[in-house]
């Protein structure tokens, strides 16, 4: 049962990350997830001070807002101040992460957050964290509920806005002409991504959650020729590395989060070698 709960939590994150990662990768904004994952920190600390719990709704909202605002700020600096995307990414997230660290170390006396759990997450503790409200909500651990809600939001968004997303991902300019604001779509994708990052952060930590977002989508991009194939393959790679990585972790007594992401990394390496001719001359860079 514990294994099932852990795998369900990781699997749901793999689902969200494969989808969100695919869109961001195709819009050449994959590293935005890295920035967003690091920028979770200040929001997390502030939310924690407000609520005193680590996975309550306040924490999630504060952390997601902080993560989303980093993406917004990066886009803003890029578009309106004319700063390169890489550069604005670089200084926005490092500044926010630094602020987060300062907050942890100064207010941290009564905050149960330390650098280890921020960086590596606590996947193994997932089955022990319940809402303790003594209601039906106690049927599943809190981190799993969080994954379920965010996963559901992704599923609804994709179902109802699939055509718009696809058009946007391929050709944002055309999307604009056809009457859809590419900025609105981008922000919706980033908002959902920040929710996924926050709920994923809890289990995997800041660094690994980025791997989860990028590796399956990048592997799928190397292999696939069609849109559906890309989404499907990134889902399979995400779920496959979760299953395989977790089994290896149990067998060899490794840390499960890093083990899962390492397996995803191996999948990517394999695909990069086997399919290197597929995307040999991809030098295109869109405006963000």
């Amino acid at each position: 049962m514990m294994t099932f709960l852990i795998l369900a939590t990781a699997g749901l994150l793999a689902f969200q990350a494969a989808l969100g990662g695919s869109f961001l990768l195709l819009r050449r904004s994959a590293m935005l997830t890295d920035a967003m994952a690091h920028s979770v920190l200040p929001g997390l600390v502030i939310g924690y001070l407000f609520s005193g719990s680590r996975s309550g709704p306040e924490v999630i909202l504060f952390a997601a807002a902080s993560s989303f605002s980093s993406a917004y700020l990066i886009d803003y600096l890029n578009k309106f101040a004319g700063i390169w995307f890489e550069a604005s990414t670089g200084f926005v997230f490092t500044s926010l992460f630094a602020i987060g660290i300062v907050l942890i170390t100064t207010l941290g006396g009564n905050v149960d957050l330390d650098a280890d759990c921020v960086l590596y997450g606590e996947l193994l503790y997932v089955p022990f964290r319940y809402s303790s409200t003594h209601s039906w909500y106690d049927a599943l651990p809190l981190p799993l509920w969080n994954q379920i809600w965010v996963g559901l939001a992704w599923a609804l968004f994709l179902f109802f806005r699939w055509k718009q997303l696809k058009t946007w991902a391929f050709d944002a300019e055309f999307c604009r002409h056809a009457g859809i604001s590419d900025h609105v779509i981008r922000r919706l994708v980033l908002a959902l991504t920040s929710m996924s990052i926050v709920v994923g952060f809890d289990a995997f930590g800041a660094i690994l959650v980025v791997g989860f977002f990028i590796l399956p989508a990048a592997t799928a991009w190397l292999i696939s020729r069609t849109w559906h194939a890309m989404i499907l393959i990134s889902l399979l790679v995400g779920l496959g590395s979760t299953g395989l990585g977790y089994s290896l972790a149990l067998f060899f007594d490794w840390e499960p989060g890093p083990s899962i992401v390492s397996v995803a990394g191996l999948f990517f390496l394999g695909a990069a070698i086997a399919f290197r001719q597929n995307r040999a001359n991809s030098t295109f860079r869109p405006t963000h």
Binding site: K163, F170, A178
Partner: protein, 257 residues
């Protein structure tokens, strides 16, 4: 009718075109021509509403651009998207049937039929299941054209659709455009080749960052106008004028602005 009034536009602090003023009645096949850097693409982008003018205004069908965007279809230059994108030819054309407020993940049967119809019109049916990166430059341009046609808009705008395109694709594109025009619709096209411009269009907008002349081709395509715009080799130009004299086309069918 397209009315451009006192238009000045550009990028950031750089002004690319100054004080453009003209009006042309629809239906028309309008060519925007001029030397490199004369503001042709800038004018097209402003007509599309993609670029906000510094001063002045553009109206189509007597309304500001923002209200008639749904009546425009645009064929961008082919280097504006990622051709490695994992997507099939048919999916690109289907985007032309995309409506902003359609919910749900699937295109309707009639949308699919329309997309297939326009893909056939540009002679690309057999490629419908190919990944777009496997196409040649001319084929890519035809796919973009099919996507714009599938919008079934009143005005088609194109940015140098014949640049870097093989002869076969070029002919196909021109024949599709001529069909489009015959349905009583209008085309606005940025074009760089003076030789073909002389026979292709019925109206011209001749640019040199300022407007040199605009109107029916007979009035615009004159030696003195072309010299003002290009300032160079008169003998080549006069050859062209001569050629134009032999192929007057269907100019007289259209009302003068």
């Amino acid at each position: 009718m397209i009315e451009v009034h006192n238009l000045t536009a550009g990028y950031g602090k750089r002004t690319a075109l100054w004080n453009i003023d003209f009006s042309i009645h629809f239906p028309a096949f309008i060519g925007i021509i001029g030397p490199n850097g004369s503001g042709k693409s800038t004018l097209l982008k402003t007509i599309l509403g993609e670029l906000i003018p510094f001063t002045g205004s553009i109206s189509l069908f007597g309304k500001p651009i923002s209200e008639v965007k749904h009546r425009l279809a645009y064929v961008p230059q082919i280097n504006s998207v990622d051709w490695n994108f994992p997507i099939r030819v048919m999916d690109v054309v289907l985007m032309g049937r995309f409506r902003p407020n359609s919910w749900g993940p699937f295109y309707s049967k009639s949308d699919r039929e329309k997309a297939a119809f326009y893909l056939n019109a540009v002679g690309m049916s057999e490629f419908s299941k190919r990944q777009i990166g496997e196409l040649s430059g001319g084929q890519r341009q035809r796919v973009f054209l099919a996507r714009a046609l599938a919008r079934e808009a009143d005005v088609l705008l194109l940015d140098e659709p014949l640049a870097g395109v093989d002869a076969g694709s070029g002919e196909r594109i021109l024949s599709v455009l001529s069909d489009y025009q015959q349905q009583g619709r209008s085309i606005v096209m940025v074009h760089h080749d003076l030789l073909t411009a002389s026979t292709l269009f019925d109206h011209l907008v001749l640019m040199q960052t300022r407007l040199v002349a605009a109107g029916p081709i007979q009035q615009v395509f004159t030696l003195s106008n072309l010299q003002t715009a290009y300032g160079t080799d008169v003998s080549i130009l006069s050859d062209m004028i001569h050629k134009l004299g032999q192929t007057p086309g269907n100019l007289s069918d259209h009302p003068k602005p």
